[in-house]
Symmetry: C2
């Protein structure tokens, strides 16, 4: 039973709240029973798991938590970037800085279309505690890839796009490309982009990705 905050494992957990340490160590943390279960379900072996009351005093584990929610269990795992490509549907993100949005899109992509997320320049670290939490188990089931540009046939989504969603060719294999809310996609990618019909100004990028994925999955089901 760990009874000191100076314990090496607790120190590692605290370090992993920071991106610089995550990159240096190649590790990340998953907080909470659901996420640790999801890692198990995906056969993703932990470096170590600490459980409050079993391995460590509950206050010490809560104090090491990044989410401030007094986690009862924290697992430490090795980062495993995937290679882009291979799935019928991929999602390419450009400049999506919010870790909650990155995690949510990893979750939606997995749930709606079994789609891999490829993170382009300027995206949040998907191994941050907030992104991992937002992804729920999906970061283990379908870990993200990195890429400087989207691969294969690309269908770009942009609020200023000239092609309506109804007219878009969403047949796989394809990569759905989305940019951050304000900045959008870079000019080359935004050309001939698809616009999701909306009454108000815009959707947030996670909602836009969800609509794009649902529509793609819908048409695959209709064609299949």
């Amino acid at each position: 039973m760990i009874t000191s905050p100076d314990n090496d494992r607790l120190k590692t957990i605290r370090k992993l709240a920071r991106k610089s340490w995550r990159s240096k160590l190649g590790l990340f943390i998953a907080e909470g029973e659901d996420l640790v279960d999801a890692a198990d379900a995906a056969d993703w072996a932990a470096e170590f798991v600490l459980r409050a009351g079993e391995d460590v005093e509950p206050e010490l584990l809560a104090g090491a938590s990044s989410l401030g929610s007094g986690s009862r269990v924290i697992g430490v795992y090795a980062q495993r970037w995937a290679e882009p490509g291979g799935e019928p549907v991929s999602v390419y993100l450009h400049g999506v800085e919010d870790p909650g949005n990155v995690g949510t899109i990893i979750r939606s992509a997995h749930a709606l279309a079994g789609a891999r997320v490829v993170l382009g320049p300027g995206c949040a670290d998907p191994w941050s505690p907030k992104a991992v939490r937002a992804s729920m188990g999906s970061i283990f089931a379908l870990p993200p890839a990195r890429g400087d540009t989207p691969a294969g046939r690309v269908v770009a989504f942009d609020a200023a796009g000239g092609v309506s969603l109804a007219d878009a060719d969403l047949s796989p294999p394809l990569t759905l490309a989305l940019g951050a809310e304000r900045a959008g996609l870079p000019p080359g990618l935004a050309d001939a982009a698809v616009r999701i019909p909306v009454a108000a100004d815009s959707l947030n990028v996670a909602m836009a990705a969800t609509v794009a994925l649902h529509e793609t999955a819908n048409r695959m089901a209709a064609d299949g």
Copy 2:
């Protein structure tokens, strides 16, 4: 120019970070130029607006911000609950405790289907700074209503539902009902619920609402 943190307007802004004060005063805050512009666009008059460097010393305004993002402008507004009903499409939420999800769903409902959100028991306060921020302008354009039960023809969405989305009758007028991720909808509502086809465990409630709204809007467009 306000130069003291004891100024009454700054005190009011700090109080409005708390739900008890928001309910007592019937007020809420909108932080940032985009939200204050959205209020103007919706003809929603402010009680007062403070701008850094014009009305108040920037450090004092940043110190009063709830979002910790050093807002340059904060507006204070009267809460205006809408009455449920009237729109072709409504969204009823039950037990959605996360203010970011409540705000995001208000935004998606407005953007995708011009739909009013009705907040049932156990939902987060939509006038909290996080919910207002997540809604972007939509909380001003289509403010939420409250209700103990969904009204009109209800189509419930639940991960354990027996009706597939493809078979659901989504013709308006209707209310799309969704519950929190874990607890779902209460038994009476969850009967004959619609299930969104997903590969993974579930979607978060904001994603599920977005899919339901997009599908509803799609079919309205196809029928119209």
